[in-house]
Structures are given as structure tokens and as C-alpha cells.
């Protein structure tokens, strides 16, 4: 097995005192970011990114991915103890996790959540190990039209499967694309869409957008709801953890099903949030006693947690192998790779095998480090939420704006971050999806280049997207995903007619 050899080489890159220390630091920062409302994983990664510009790429990506794992764990902690999801993807964990905690089973709920999350993450990483070089090899055959078709699939699935109004998804996405085209045009070299403002010459950074949309916007929403923490104290004892771990194999079916859902949603850009909700719904539907869900059913904690983390790690596969991020956080990380001078996509596997396999190996280690760290530090982080929000909220704001300034050292970015804060608040309030907007900002340039190059090949004819079997299949999948809601509605209507005729 080629991949196993590569992975072993990866471990030799990843295992060093320096890297393990970075993992622990990343996980701790991540838990902090995940615990604090308003500071999520995408935001945490954006804030840390400017600090990694001077690091070597392997160390930098290890720090950022560890931060991501930590944030996912931190989000579950607050869901269970405080009934406040620290991350959107841990909303589903509150349904049964918090009732369990209220019944005095906080330790059991936390251990279940962390262990099943670790299982989900490992399932995702194993998939990456097995499939990534195959996917990358397959993608080496891609040329511009195929790449454009894959971008099309990504965005079509947001529209077709996203759950939000398709028009709102289109608006959010195309706002992202148009923001990405501000500034220097890489093909013609002309400066576009600055409307005469010099501050826009360098474009609008997606990092500023993430900080504004996810940080400031989220906090405005949190403040509007009038936040109050009523937490449940938890001490995690080793004995309890082991006892819970011994119970885990009993839920093998839920674990496997949730991991599969998570992996699927992570590779397609459904993302961890959709994965956790879907997994919870599936667990409830297939359970023998669905009435127990919502009242502290362990399976209601295991299912969303496993899927959440499986999706989180599986989202790295399309990012590495195709250059298409599967979640908002992966989008930010991919932006980071490009800033470090790496080119995410199939060629990364041949150009920088050290980086790719070091990263994959670090995902195994990072998740193990994360489970241990989070179990050890839960009481500490839970106590952070006892600090009144009137201190924490403004501090997060300060961190966000200082983070926005450190991205490029431009004072005008503070105003852009503030504007994105308002946009994020309004968009979230009215169910405009934010993730497609970030994805569009990150891969906007690449999508545009792919489109323009395809047009150059074909002398301006759209028929190039149907010119061979590969690109036609990809475009076909994209169109099917795009019209999924329409197809579904038609089938339902036809079935409805059939039923009324037989009845």
C-alpha cells in the first residue's frame, strides 16, 4: 500500500516535540474559541492565520487544524453544560446533551460526546488516508472546464441541498464572488471595481469578511437574544470516562451510521452543521423508542457529535485533493494555504508530499491529543462561562478588530469588518446562508480563471462544458443538484396524484 508508506513518512514529519506542543496549544485555543459564543471555528482560524505567516507551512497547518478540532470539542462542551451551542454545528447536541447534564449525568454526556466525536474524526481521517491520493490522481486529469464543473457542483449543491431559500443562497454566493473580483484582475492585469477608492486596490480579504460575518455579526445576534448562562458544574473523573467508554461499543450502529452521514456531508459541501442535524434526525427516526429523544437519550448525543466531527475532518479531503473546501473553516484554511504559497489541489500531492502527509498524520495525532486535552480541561473552560458576558462580549470584539487589523495592517479593514458585521447580523436574522459567501470569496478567483480559460479554449462557446464524457458527467451532477428541490417537488406531486387516484 502506497498510502500507508506515505502516511508513515507523514508521521515522521508530524511527530516532533515542536509539533505536539503546537497541537496542544492549538487545541487549547480552539476549545477557548469554541466555548465562547461569537467566536467560532472559522473565526478562530481567521484570527490565528496572520500569526502563522512567518511559520513554516507544516507547523502552521498543524496549529490551525488542531485549533479546529479544539473548537469542535469546545462547542459541544457548552451545548451540554450550558444549553448554549458554542458552534452552530453543536446545536443538535443540546437536544439530548443538556437534558442528560440536568439529570446529573453531565460527565457521562461529555465523555460520550468527546469519545464519539473522536471516533467520527478518526473515521474521516481514515477515509482521507485511503482516498486522497486516488482522488488527487483522478483530478490530475482535470483541465479548466472540469475544474469549473467541480466548482459548479460545489455551488449547485449549496443551492439545491442547502435548505435556505435558493434565491437567498444565490444572492449570498454571488455577493461573495463579486467581492472576490474586486481589485487586481489576475488575467488582464487591470484593476477592477474599486470605484476610484484606493483602499480597495488590494481587494477585500476573506479573512476580514469571516471576522465580521462570524464574529461581530454573531455577537450582535447573541446580544439581541439577551444572553444568560445557567450552567451545570461538571468534574470529569477518569473512572467515569472509562465506564462510559466501555458502554460505547453498544452504540456501534449509531456510530457507524453517523460517521457515514458526516463523511458524506463533509465531502459534499453540506458541512458539519447540516451533518449533525441530519444525523440526529436519522437516529431519532430509526430508534426503537423515539419518544426518549430530547429527554436525555445517549444516542442523541452520540449521533450529532460523531457526524459533526466526521464532517469536519472529511471536509479536508476535497480541500487538499481538489482545492475545494467542504466547509467554511476549510475555506479559511485553504485561503491560508494559498497565502503560504501552496497551491491546494491535485498537484499539491506531487509537489509537496511532505506537507500533505504530514498534515494527514497530524490529523490522527491531533484528534487523540484533542480528546485527552478536552477531557482534562473541561472544568477549567466551563468556568470561563461564569465570567459575565458584559466582560467577555467586549473582549471578543476587541480581539476581532485587532485580528482584522493584523491581517494586512490596513486601518480601513476595521471599517470593512464592521460593515461585514452588520451584513452578517442581517443575513443570519433572515436566513441567508453565510458559508457559500465565504467559499465564493476564497475560490472566486480560481473559479473565474477556470471559466475564462475554458472560454478561451472554446472560443467563447459554452458547449465546452459538454465536450467530453468527464466534464459532461460533472456538469450533469451539478445540474441535478441545482434542480434537486424542483425534482423533489415534482416527484412528490406525482406521487400525491398517484395516491389520490388509488384512494
Amino acid at each position: 500500500m502506497d498510502n500507508v508508506a506515505s502516511l508513515m513518512h507523514g508521521f515522521s514529519v508530524a511527530i516532533s516535540f515542536h509539533h505536539i506542543a503546537l497541537m496542544i496549544a492549538g487545541v487549547l485555543l480552539g476549545i477557548l474559541v469554541g466555548v465562547l459564543p461569537g467566536l467560532g471555528a472559522p473565526n478562530g482560524v481567521s484570527l490565528m492565520l496572520p500569526l502563522t505567516f512567518s511559520m513554516d507551512p507544516v507547523s502552521a497547518i498543524i496549529l490551525l487544524t488542531s485549533l479546529y478540532w479544539g473548537a469542535l470539542f469546545g462547542g459541544s462542551t457548552t451545548s451540554i453544560l450550558f444549553n448554549i451551542p458554542g458552534e452552530p454545528s453543536s446545536v443538535a447536541t443540546t437536544f439530548d446533551g443538556h437534558p442528560m447534564a440536568k439529570q446529573g449525568k453531565a460527565t457521562e454526556a461529555l465523555s460520550l460526546a468527546f469519545l464519539s466525536a473522536g471516533f467520527g474524526a478518526l473515521a474521516g481521517v481514515i477515509l482521507i488516508t485511503v482516498l486522497s491520493s486516488w482522488v488527487a490522481g483522478f483530478a490530475l486529469r482535470f483541465s479548466s472546464p472540469e475544474f469549473f464543473a467541480v466548482y459548479f457542483i460545489t455551488f449547485a449543491s449549496f443551492i439545491g441541498l442547502g435548505g435556505a431559500s435558493p434565491f437567498k443562497t444565490i444572492v449570498a454566493m454571488c455577493v461573495g464572488f463579486s467581492l472576490a473580483s474586486i481589485g487586481m484582475d489576475t488575467v488582464s492585469g487591470s484593476v477592477r471595481l474599486t470605484f476610484g477608492f484606493d483602499v480597495l486596490l488590494a481587494g477585500v480579504s476573506f479573512l476580514i469578511a469571516v471576522i465580521g460575518l462570524f464574529g461581530v455579526g454573531e455577537l450582535l445576534l447573541t446580544m439581541e437574544d439577551g444572553l444568560s448562562f445557567r450552567g451545570i458544574a461538571a468534574k470529569v473523573r477518569l473512572g467515569d470516562v472509562l465506564r462510559t467508554a466501555a458502554k460505547l461499543p453498544r452504540y456501534w450502529l449509531a456510530l457507524l451510521r453517523s460517521a457515514a452521514i458526516g463523511i458524506w456531508m463533509g465531502i459534499t459541501p453540506g458541512g458539519p452543521t447540516a451533518a449533525s442535524f441530519l444525523s440526529y434526525a436519522m437516529a431519532k427516526r430509526s430508534s426503537r423508542n423515539p419518544e426518549k429523544f430530547g429527554k436525555g437519550e445517549p444516542e442523541g448525543v452520540i449521533s450529532p457529535e460523531t457526524a459533526d466531527h466526521a464532517a469536519g475532518s472529511a471536509a479536508m479531503l476535497p480541500m487538499l485533493a481538489l482545492g475545494i473546501p467542504g466547509s467554511a473553516t476549510a475555506a479559511v484554511m485553504m485561503g491560508g494555504l494559498m497565502i503560504w504559497g501552496l497551491n491546494p489541489g491535485p498537484t499539491l500531492f506531487t509537489d509537496r508530499p511532505d506537507f500533505v502527509w504530514g498534515l494527514i498524520a497530524s490529523m490522527y495525532l491531533g484528534n487523540i491529543v484533542a480528546v485527552i486535552t478536552v477531557l482534562a480541561t473541561v472544568p477549567l473552560f466551563a468556568s470561563i462561562l461564569r465570567i459575565p458576558f458584559s466582560i467577555i462580549g467586549p473582549l471578543i470584539i476587541v480581539v476581532c478588530f485587532i485580528g482584522a487589523y493584523t491581517v494586512a495592517g490596513k486601518p480601513f479593514d476595521l471599517w470593512i469588518a464592521l460593515a461585514f458585521g452588520i451584513v452578517g447580523y442581517a443575513f443570519k436574522k433572515l436566513d441567508y446562508p453565510i458559508a457559500p459567501m465565504i467559499l465564493a470569496m476564497v475560490i472566486g478567483d480560481k473559479a473565474e480563471d477556470a471559466f475564462r480559460q475554458s472560454m478561451i479554449f472554446s472560443q467563447g462557446s459554452l458547449s465546452i462544458f459538454w465536450s467530453n464524457a468527464l466534464v459532461s458527467t460533472l456538469m450533469g451532477i451539478g445540474l441535478m443538484l441545482l434542480f434537486m428541490p424542483l425534482i423533489g417537488a415534482t416527484i412528490r406531486r406525482m406521487r400525491g396524484q398517484a395516491v389520490s387516484r388509488t384512494a
Binding site: 434565491f167 444572492v171 464572488f177 487591470s190 477592477r192 470605484f195 467586549p394 487589523y405 443575513f427 471559466f451
Partner: protein
Amino acid sequence: MVTRLWAETVVALFTLAYGLTIVWGALEFGIGWDTSGPEAGAFPFYTGMLVALGSLATLALTWSKRLSGRDMLAEVVLDGERIHRVASFFLPILGFVILCATLGMYVATVVYLVFTMRFQGGFGWLRTLTVAIGSAVFFYLALERFFHIPLMKGPLEAALGL
């Protein structure tokens, strides 16, 4: 009091205006075909167009629901109390950004935290000043000293010679 209907309408009009602005900006660079392929304005033109069309569709959908009486969209998305809470959080942030641009980020951090903690949160002076000055010092040490990333500075830092 803001109802869903008006919130949807205002946001859709805003995105419509944004989309049209992009379309207008793209026209300047040509949206057709030149010797080297599609012109620089083509891609932004179509994305701006999609933003505008999507906004129009949202507007049409919102108002058709209302006019046909299927859904009056009369639920209140923002009442007086909520507006007050959001504004009392947002306005200090606005002040903070203005202070950052004029007095530098360290002074702005201290002033902003003192305002929110002492005058909005009702904490004692000792606790307030500890947190406010402590944060500014922490950011100074972490960013300027450890990571060598300078933040915006104002007249105070110049006077102190930092």
C-alpha cells in the same frame, strides 16, 4: 417594531442595489470578448446580475406571499427591547473603531472596555481598570513583542516613545 415583511424587503433592496453597483462597475471594463478571451468585466457582470436577479426574486416571493394572504409575514423580528439591546452593543463598537483610527488601538481598547464594563456592565473601577489596562498590555506584549506585529498607534504611544 420591525416585521419580517419589512426586514426582508429592506435587505433585498440593499442586495439589489449592491448587485446593480457591481454590474455598473463591471460595464466599465467591458463584458464582451476581446482578442485574449472574455473581458475583465464579464465575470463580475454576471455575478452582479445574479445578485440583482436573486434579490428581485426574493422581493417578489416575499410580497406575493403577503399579497396573496398565504403568509402575512407580520411576525416581529425586532421589537423595541431588542433594538435597544443591539444598539447598546453596536454603538460602542462604532465608537471603538473611530477611536482606533484616531487614538490608536491600545488607547481605544482601554476606553472601550472601561465604557462597556463600568458604565454598561456596572462593575467597580478596580475590576474595570484591571481588565481594560491588562488587556491592552497583554496585546502589546503578545503582538508587538512576541509576534512582531505592530498595531495602529496614536499620539499617546508617540509621547511615550513606544
